[in-house]
């Protein structure tokens, strides 16, 4: 039966691909190439970093493997959290669950089908980013194809184990708290705990461990580098297996591979057994709609009172209400708050004692904070259009233009993103005590980047609308989401590159060069920045608007 269920997924995917219109084929092809470009860029970056680490005398290889272990640990954590968020929708709210539950299928079979779906959606994109990292490792250390093959074979149980954490949590949560309101409270409290844990882990200042000066003697530092990173986590098993593959130690490789595959088999067998007992209880609870008696008041909308035009105000009002009533968004907001807090803490702890260095970091902060904003854009802005879902007909048949809908979505995203950008930028500049020029340049650049990323998020979201998906994570992890992220990172990189010129001239002036400012170069930078932003604002927006106007529901 499970094979039949997988067959339907494969057929659906094949049919989707074979039924693309020439336009869709060209669009997807072009943007898939852009995505590959991003992977190639990441590969270049990883290669440069690993090649540098490898040249560090004596400890080069130790550093390299320590970093690999950390990357794998971070991957494990990200997939686990993503699995947590994905499995809730996939296991309990999929459109086809009613059909599957009515079909002569065992609960365990349905669970396996949905668990596989969760595993795929929560891990493919994060897993894909590992590929350029490992390829860079292969190139730096001249490993053979066997090493890469071992990596590919071991990734499956590794990702499966990470996803199992999220799936198991969701399974138990829905079983223990079938009542929707209690479940919502537990869900938010869990997110809050996760945020606090994340903050606590950060406040423990783990970076002190990798700074040799923080440790008493060199021996301690070497011991730290050689010690396993989170040895009870599958991320270490994978790292150890890769190390063994690199060293040609087949027996060790086989042992760790067996550990990964064996653990995955045991964990999923346990989950399937558990699902047989608890899945249906959670499913039944999830089917009951949230009974929330709200007062029927027909008062003026706040948005209208704030001066928004009728249609824009109504759309904004609807967006605000539906967004904040979805408990899944609360957990994300809590995590974002934690992220911002930890970001600022990290800036504060940077060991900088030089005013020029502080100003430089303030400028480079544009890239780091831009990345945070892009990640938020992928989570909140890009899916905004697709989240209209099957209710799209309401707007499609009403007297509002697609442009107005997109403008409202832009505004709804841009306002909180601007606030976050301002906090990240102003607080960072304050903590660093950056000079006035660097502070203004970085703050202005980050604001511009934020608005451009919001416009790109809405534009790409309209270019790749997915009104029939059931899960926000399917939207994020789709080709369009990947393209949005790739384009965002490319845009941030290009912005930083352009702004580096005036920044360089500013530093030259600080260092005493009287004729540091070349106004022709400064003017060219301004024009380039203008062109870049015009492209970032206009191209995805126009293409998206056109696509949405022609969208055939």
């Amino acid at each position: 039966m499970l094979r039949l269920l997988f067959w339907r997924k494969v057929r659906s995917s094949v049919n989707t691909l074979t039924h693309l219109t020439p336009y869709e084929r060209a669009r997807n092809g072009a943007f898939a190439l852009a995505g590959l470009g991003l992977l190639a860029g990441l590969y270049g970056l990883f290669h440069k970093m690993l090649a540098y680490l490898a040249t560090v005398q004596l400890v080069g290889q130790l550093l390299l493997w320590k970093l690999t272990a950390m990357v794998m640990l971070a991957t494990f954590m990200m997939v686990a959290i993503s699995g947590l968020l994905t499995s809730l929708t996939t296991l309990y709210y999929s459109f086809d669950l009613k059909f599957l539950m009515n079909a002569p299928l065992s609960l365990r079979t349905i669970f396996m089908d949905k668990a596989a779906e969760s595993l795929f959606f929560c891990s493919w994109m994060i897993g894909l980013v590992q590929v350029p990292y490992v390829l860079a490792l292969v190139r730096v250390n001249h490993y053979g194809a066997g090493f890469f093959l071992a990596f590919l074979l071991l990734m499956l149980p590794f990702l499966a184990l990470a996803a199992a954490v999220g799936i198991a949590f969701t399974l138990l949560l829905l079983y223990l708290f079938p009542s929707s309101r209690t479940r919502d409270v537990v869900w938010v409290l869990s997110s809050l705990s996760l945020t606090v844990l994340y903050g606590l882990a950060r406040f423990a200042e783990p970076e002190r461990l990798i700074r040799p000066d923080a440790l008493k003697v060199v021996a301690e530092y070497l011991q730290y580098l050689q010690a396993p990173t989170a040895p009870y986590f599958p991320s270490w098993w994978l790292t150890a297996a890769l190390k063994a593959a690199a060293a040609g130690k087949t027996a060790v490789l086989a042992r760790y591979a067996a550990l990964l595959y064996g653990s995955a088999a045991v964990v999923y067998a346990a989950l399937v057994a558990l699902a047989g007992k608890v899945y249906f209880i959670g499913y039944s609870g999830a089917q009951a709609g949230r009974q929330r008696r709200l007062a029927v008041t027909i008062a003026p909308m706040t948005e209208r009172l704030l001066g928004m035009r009728r249609e824009l105000g109504a759309l904004f009002w609807k967006e605000r209400r539906t967004f904040f009533r979805d408990v899944k968004h609360w957990s994300q907001i809590l995590l974002v708050m934690g992220l911002v807090f930890v970001y600022l803490f990290s800036i504060r702890r940077l060991p900088l004692d030089n005013a020029d260095l502080k100003s430089l970091v303030s400028f480079l902060n544009v890239g780091a904070a831009g990345f945070v904003i892009a990640a938020l854009g992928l989570r909140f802005t890009y899916p905004a259009i697709s989240l209209e879902g099957r209710s799209w007909w309401v707007l499609g048949s009403s007297p509002v233009t697609v442009g107005a809908i997109m403008r409202q979505k832009f505004l709804f995203s841009a306002i909180p993103m601007t606030l976050i950008a301002l906090v990240l930028s102003l607080a960072t500049n304050h903590l660093l005590q950056a000079d006035r020029f660097a502070a203004w340049l970085s703050a202005g650049a980050l604001l511009l980047i934020t608005w451009a990323l919001a416009a790109m998020g809405i534009g790409f979201g309209a270019l790749f609308p997915m009104f029939t998906v059931e899960n926000i994570h399917q939207i994020e992890s789709s080709l369009g989401g990947f393209v949005y992220m790739a384009s965002s990172l490319g845009y941030i990189g290009a912005s930083i590159t352009i702004l580096a010129w005036p920044m360089q001239m500013h530093f030259q002036q600080r260092f005493g060069r009287a004729d540091a400012w070349n106004w022709r170069i400064a003017g060219s930078c301004a024009v380039l920045l203008l062109l870049l932003n015009a492209a970032a604002f206009v191209v995805p927006w126009t293409l998206g608007q056109r696509t949405l106007e022609r969208y055939e529901q």
Binding site: R290, Q291, S397
Partner: protein, 270 residues
């Protein structure tokens, strides 16, 4: 009123709507029938601007849907076959949202929203989130929403499906009242009894083409006498019999055109 001229819609190799010509007058209830996949819902989407035609035009209350889209949509009301609505809004909030989108004054909304909720027996549910509504309740809410902005042209795709008998009767009465007030009603339905009782004229669409069009009496009269063939006129049934012989209902016309009598032998073998 609705004026459809030479309307064509293709999906790849499939022509879902093929050179459709149709006029529905103000105050008329028009029944649009056809087998599954005949192109009825596609036609509804073309009328309401949810799809762009490959050829031809649709005018609603004098506005071209393709070029005067917003004006056309302002006077249109749609009740789709699947009433998907925002699960995180309450019933009253959904009506409020629609009221704002269509420019219904606040004072009017304050008066009409409780009235409409009461009329469709949703008062007790007005404050509940739509995710807890049944299919029929959502259907009633969507009907309430179109009534709120009082469209000149009402397009309904299977409006009775999912409604309890009392609500179904209420909706039928509502449609009659609206038509008397001058609202044009274009209704797709598979329930032939409703079409017979409610609609001034019916059109039967088969494979994207309008195979029969007229009032029941016209179809009956024509089918008794000469049997002109061609689009827009009444056609002979597949078995060669007149479409609407004395004593035969719309179901027989429908089955003659679309096939269905042949299933009798298949059913016997079940």
């Amino acid at each position: 009123m609705i004026e459809i001229r030479g309307l064509v819609k293709r999906f790849g190799d499939l022509t879902a709507v093929d050179r459709l010509d149709l006029t529905v007058a103000a105050g008329e209830i028009f029944g649009f029938l056809g087998p599954n996949g005949a192109g009825k819902t596609t036609t509804v989407k073309l009328i309401t601007g949810l799809l762009k035609p490959d050829a031809g035009s649709v005018r609603v209350a004098g506005f071209d849907v393709a070029t005067q889209t917003l004006q056309a949509k302002r006077v249109l009301g749609l009740v789709p076959d699947e009433p998907f609505v925002y699960p995180k809004l309450s019933g009253a909030e959904y009506l409020r949202f629609i009221g704002e989108l269509y420019g219904v004054p606040l004072s009017e909304q304050r008066r009409r929203i409780p009235e409409l909720l009461a009329m469709l027996e949703l008062t007790d549910w007005g404050g509940e989130l739509l995710e807890s509504y049944s299919h029929g309740m959502r259907q009633k809410l969507v009907i309430a929403a179109v009534l709120l902005h009082e469209p000149k042209v009402l397009v309904l795709d299977e409006p009775i499906v999912g409604l309890d008998p009392k609500s179904a009767r209420l909706v039928k009465e509502l449609l009659r009242t609206l038509a008397k007030r001058g609202t044009t009603v274009f209704m797709c339905t598979h329930i032939l009894e409703i079409a017979e009782k409610l609609c001034a004229r019916v059109g039967i669409m088969i494979s994207g083409r309008l195979a029969a069009l007229g009032t029941l009496d016209e179809l009956r009269t024509r089918s008794k006498g000469d049997l002109p063939s061609g689009r827009g006129g009444s056609l002979p049934g597949r078995d060669g019999e007149p479409l609407l012989a004395e004593g035969r209902g719309l179901e027989d016309v429908f089955l003659s055109l679309t096939g269905g009598h042949e299933y009798a032998s298949l059913l016997r073998n079940l």
